[in-house]
Amino acid sequence: MSLFDLRLSELHNRLHHKEVSVSELVEASLKRIEETDGKIGAFLTLDEAGAKKRASELDGWTGERGLLFGLPAGIKDNIVTEGLRTTCASKFLANYDPIYDAGVVGKLRDAQAVTIGKLNMDEFAMGGSNENSAFRPVRNPWDTERVPGGSSGGSAASVAAGQVYFALGSDTGGSIRQPAAYCGVVGLKPTYGLVSRYGLVAFASSLDQIGPIAKNVEDAAFVLQAIAGHDARDSTSANVDIPDYSAALTGDVKGLRIAVPKEYFGPGIDPQVKERVLEALKVYESMGAVWEEVSLPHTEYAVATYYLLASSEASSNLARFDGVRYGVRADNPANLLDLYRRSRSEGFGPEVKRRIMLGTYALSSGYYDAYYKKAQQVRTLIKRDFDQVFEKFDVVVSPTAPTPAFRLGAQVDDPLTMYMNDICTIPASLAGVPAISIPCGLADGLPVGLQIIGKPFDEATVLRAAHAFEGQTEHHKLRPAL
């Protein structure tokens, strides 16, 4: 058994008894990256020297140990790290070295994790296949001809390939959960506001949330514990008590009330994906949980709502990339306007431009009420769907994505089809509620994800339900043959 197959709690014990050192863990991580990343392309920047230095510091540490002591971690490249290149997988920021650490990066340091490097993604987190990285696509460790999902594709692929112990991703409309599903790992999008967005390069500020990607639910709970909590530097950070997530992992789901929304099993859902989810529901039945079909009637409007709102927010957020304070600047600008236009046009890739155009159009004079305000109103209806279901149920269970991972290049010319991959993950993003994707088996040799959605700030129940399923199944132990 490789060190990377161990649960965090087991690894903690081995580190404690000095059966393994932090330096050995970091060396193992770097070696695995060297062996596999030529095929996967998960890392954009490696901090080999920094990681080794940190490892030797931690090996000499005699005080109380942090929650993530000594664990090699990867960080999505839209989370800023002081002095460590952060590109958002965009040419615009190809040479950008942040001057401060994101809130979560400080939290990881306090928990004594070791940052190995920065992970590839769709440019500015816009995309669901990782083909929008300006540098190179990430490939799925289960089949390198297929996409790992996106936008946190590097994060999911790296964990699946055993390169790092866990990774941080960000999720705006499914960008943690969908790649976790495609790569056969666990990905959790917390409630909006639970984890600080300070230092997360903003895509759609009312939706963006940072969360963990890990090999199993227990590890994801540990990472969430380390990164959750109020941060005054993020004005939408929620000031709520953080429970002990590990204590919630009881294995007991007797009497758990599961809602299964019929709208998530429509004609676009692959029959094998549907089959895996129905099998998962049988597992829950066998553990004493009860499930019932429900309706979330506004689900079919979620994708349109999301693309209008997220693109509008993006068009505003990305106005900061002007070629003045950081990032690329076009050569020999004729004047300031020319500098803005050419710097942005040279720095941004096609999907980013497309969304800026869509968002600018939706916010422009004469269209605001028809598109932006209308979408905000429909968002209210989608949120109410969840509020109503959660009056009677503890969690909502569905597929994470309609299909398993598709082939590279299969959808690049068709943005609308690409957007439909997010149909199962977007509603929870719009409602701001927590949701996890866990492995629930394979379809033609490719991983399938089960999504469990919970009430606001009830990550504990989501994790308990996910962990109990893991306890009864072996799906999360499957590894790609790389």
């Binding site: 040479n95 950008y96 070295d97 001057i99 401060y100 506001g193 500020s205 009312s206 005054a232 004005s235 939408t236 929620a238 506004h298 079919e300 409007y301 349109a304 709502t305 693309y307 002007d322 070629g323 003045v324 304070r325 950081y326 990032g327 690329v328 600047r329 004729a334 004047n335 300031l336 306007l337 020319d338 500098l339 803005y340 236009r341 942005r344 046009s345 941004f348 096609p350 431009k353 497309r354 155009m357 869509l358 600018t360 159009y361 422009s364 598109y371 209308k374 979408a375 905000q376 109103q377 429909v378 209210t380 209806l381 949120k383 943005p415 609308l416 957007y419 409602a431 701001g432 606001p456």
Partner: protein, 95 residues
């Protein structure tokens, strides 16, 4: 309603983007397809429904107006494409 190349040019100007002729054609087609799909929202009557801008019950988070440490100028300028005398430098705005 259909988006023309002229509309694309107008929006690109608002967004401070310079697009090639090919990009303009492509975006006109793709934005039409996306907005046509978005017309779906008009099936819903949303009269009297409050818009949701974000999901948290948080309003106007205030703090005391106290002096706090800020970034030193040289650090703030460390990623600047061009700088001069501790300032970001841009082409002349006034002719």
């Amino acid at each position: 309603m259909s988006i023309t190349v002229k509309d694309v040019e107008h929006v690109a100007n608002l967004a401070r983007l310079e697009l090639s002729e090919a990009e303009k054609e492509q975006f006109a087609g793709q934005l039409n397809a996306i907005l046509e799909y978005a017309e779906k929202l008009n099936e819903l009557n949303t009269e009297g429904i409050e818009p949701t801008s974000h999901v948290l019950p948080l309003y106007n988070v205030m703090r005391e107006d106290e002096v706090r440490p800020s970034l030193p100028a040289e650090k703030a300028l460390s990623n600047a494409p061009e700088e001069e005398d501790g300032h970001f430098k841009v082409p002349a705005v006034l002719e």
